[in-house]
Amino acid sequence: MKEYLSDLWNHSNSRARVVNIVVGLAAAIIAIYLVYSIFSNLFDFRFITGPYGSPDRSSIFVALEVEASDPRWLGMLKGAGNTISVVVFAIALSSFLGLLVGVARLANNPILTRLGKFYVETFRNLPLLLIMFFFAFGVFRSLPQIQSESGISGFLYISNRGLAIPWLEPTNDLWWIWPLALIVAAVVAMWVRRVREQQEELTGRVMRGNTWGLSIFVGLAVVSYLALLLPMRITLPEVVQSEAGFFSYAGGNQLGLGYISALVSLTLYFSAFIAEIVRGSIQAVPHGQVEASASLGFTVYQRFTLIVLPQALRIMIPALNNEYQNANKDSTLAHAIAYGEIVLISNRIVNNAGNLLQTYLFIFVVFIITNLIISMIMNTINKNVQLK
């Protein structure tokens, strides 16, 4: 028996089989145990049809505000929508700010570079949650009260209740067709632009792809706007006083403190990281490229936009992909400042209904999907900017 065992262990073939079977079985048992636990409360997904219970009105999009009467599954979907609506804007803003700071750190002006370094070192070394707390429980709470009407009168107000901005308002029931029409118009315009540019490359005739694309987009947008009988209009915010003497905003869109704090903190925090990525990838572009373009008579601006930036993009995009996924995941911290994103909504549901595993499984799936989408978009961009 003992001999048999030592034979089993000392022959590489049988050893591999033994290890694979033992480890594989153990891993499979753990996995099955987890899946079983999730699905043994299961087939108890009934809780998701129950009412959500308490309203969460902190979204930038009115449609994403969670009502007390919403079923729980709708609440969770709206929570996911709220996460996405803060992440998309945070990514856009922090990329823009990060590009500016990253370029500033490489400017030929020693004072500007030091300011950039100060910015990066400050925000990179602070916890994101601290920045969020600072804005949510500090800065925005100490803003003036609503009745002082601070801001640009009739256009934009800021107070300790949040920010009121001009917004679009639907005027008839078919308004939702218009955004869809805009997407279709954009696709058509891009297609026309590409076809004309290809023709220009083939024949050498000037085809004005950009002009054509832009005018087709604007034309389709206007035509569909008119055809749908003016589906949307701009509403401006104003401060009104009710009969009982209470002040509130009317019209426009109100961004809650949670949303603004989350957006501002995510933007500041991730722009510091993106600035470092931008700086690193611009520095990685061989210096000969700049010298060559200077000797060809390019201006400083042309050198940067036509020669350096496209090459830096190639290096930057994989790192940016990583950082965007981090931004997506770190947006969950906004639940600590009461922004109604997916974790906050899910926690309420867990508190009320107690279905921890199913609810957290949903969060998990949402993050896997959103991260996959981010990485798909970034990989597509990556494919387009790589050398062919």
Binding site: N109, T113, R124, L126, P127, F133, H287, T332, L356
Partner: protein, 449 residues
């Protein structure tokens, strides 16, 4: 891209030439200079005005103990002091062995010691009461409210209150804590001197391995020492440091094991390591922390056993296993950077695979990714702030408690509180990032051009 010289020229004339060449060489650059000098000056002015004249540092000054150890039992603080001495001594010895010159370090220690040890002398706090009258307008009616507002005033010996507060509470009035602080500085200086004496043998593997072993043993020692105190009273910066230390220690070894699992010759180990790493990295840390907080009996007996552990230990568990998944990816990068020839050479020398990895491959792999590992540790340190989101009282949560509990003493002092909390987090991660870049230049990783 940067073409300016960073070395400051000596004479005034040279300075003007330098400024003309670097700051005002083109019209655009001159405009940039004016704008950035202007905004920097404005920032500096606002900051100085705030720190010196506007801020009320009293709330910070009186709560310094809360910022560092929270409500740790008074007569058990010797445990923390022992930990502080161990850490400080080990840092000093290590620095002494590997740093080049000792004099600037000793001078810096002396200056800081002089400031910290004299700053708190003669300091006193008192609460001043002011009568106030407020006119409140609501719902069209005016009301006059009178009352007594209490304002906390730091009565200082010689140091201005802002200096006292911004020194992060290290400045202490004379007493037993003062003596202990003096001993800390003595340890910092003496340890570096001892290290200097040892540096003669720094290429000796016994010294190297001894110091390494002490560093590895340090964290379990600190944690084991806390077992006499209920984990409920681990609070504030101390809690952050404790969770961070445990997270660093275990996540490194878990990461190492997972990275080795990824390149294992057995597919079952490979698949389960990859599966673990990908699953853990898919969800945010906060979600894992909340999951560990809320878990009761959902996962059957395993979940029940897990949920019966103290929350702090569960959190440490999450930090270790979450950090491990990230460290594994970093170490994998290092393993891939070791040339194939190294493995082939060690195999042809007849080393077993354990010997090959322990003696040849892993030392090179880990050496290549030390800066990246330190980067992960910085992220782990910043992540300790998340404990505030799961009702553990870390520095951030403590600051919220201080703010909400004492608004009657100094209302609106949130700015001062958050600045001090931010400094506590910032200083540690900044020092760690400096350590990372020092390691990078010392090890010659990532050099270009």
């Amino acid at each position: 891209m940067t073409t300016f010289t960073t070395i400051q020229p000596a004479s005034v004339a040279q300075r003007i030439v330098w400024a003309k060449a670097n700051l005002f060489n083109t019209r655009g650059n001159a405009a940039l200079t004016v704008v950035s000098v202007g905004s920097a000056a404005l920032l500096l002015f606002l900051a100085v005005r705030y720190v010196l004249f506007q801020a009320n540092w009293g709330l910070v000054a009186i709560n310094q103990r809360l910022f560092f150890i929270g409500s740790y039992p008074q007569d058990e603080t010797f445990r923390i002091w022992i930990a502080v001495f161990l850490v400080v001594g080990l840092i000093a010895v290590t620095y002494g062995i590997w740093a080049g010159k000792l004099r600037p370090y000793l001078i810096a220690i002396g200056v800081v010691a002089a400031i910290v040890l004299t700053l708190g002398l003669g300091t006193e706090f008192r609460i001043e009461e002011h009568e106030f009258t407020d006119v409140i307008e609501s719902a069209g009616q005016t009301q006059t409210v009178t009352g007594i507002d209490s304002v906390l005033v730091v009565d200082r010996g010689w140091a201005p209150s802002w200096l006292y507060a911004v020194s992060l509470g290290l400045a202490v009035p004379f007493g037993s804590t003062w003596v202990l602080m003096a001993c800390v500085f003595a340890t910092l200086a003496g340890g570096a001197w001892v290290g200097k004496q040892l540096s003669r043998w720094r290429s000796n593997p016994i010294v190297l391995q001894g110091i390494g072993a002490l560093w590895v043993l340090l964290i379990p020692a600190i944690v084991l020492m806390q077992f006499g105190v209920s984990s409920n009273s681990w609070e504030s910066a101390f809690l952050d440091v404790l969770v961070f230390a445990v997270g660093v220690f275990f996540s490194f070894f878990i990461g190492l094991a997972l990275a080795m699992g990824r390149i294992s010759p057995y597919w079952a180990i490979r698949v389960s390591s990859v599966g673990y790493i990908e699953v853990v990295r898919a969800a945010p840390l906060l979600v894992w922390l909340l999951f560990a907080t809320f878990l009761k009996d959902e996962l059957g007996p395993v979940g029940e056993a897990f949920s019966s552990i103290d929350l702090v230990y569960r959190v440490m568990f999450v930090f270790a296993f979450f950090g491990g998944a990230y460290i594994a990816e970093v170490i994998r990068g290092g393993l891939q950077s070791v040339p194939r020839g190294q493995r082939e050479a060690s195999q042809s020398l007849g080393l077993s695979s354990i010997q090959m990895y322990a003696l040849i491959v892993l030392p090179q792999a880990i050496r290549a990714v030390i800066p990246a590992i330190i980067g992960r540790f910085i992220a782990l340190w910043k992540d300790t702030a998340l404990l505030a989101a799961i009702s553990l009282v870390n520095t951030l949560e403590k600051s919220k408690k201080i703010l909400s509990g004492q608004t009657d003493i100094a209302d609106g002092a949130f700015f001062e509180i958050y600045i001090v909390v931010a400094l506590i987090y910032w200083v540690v991660s900044y020092l760690l990032s400096k350590l990372g870049s020092a390691a990078e230049s010392r090890l010659g990783v990532g050099e270009r051009r």
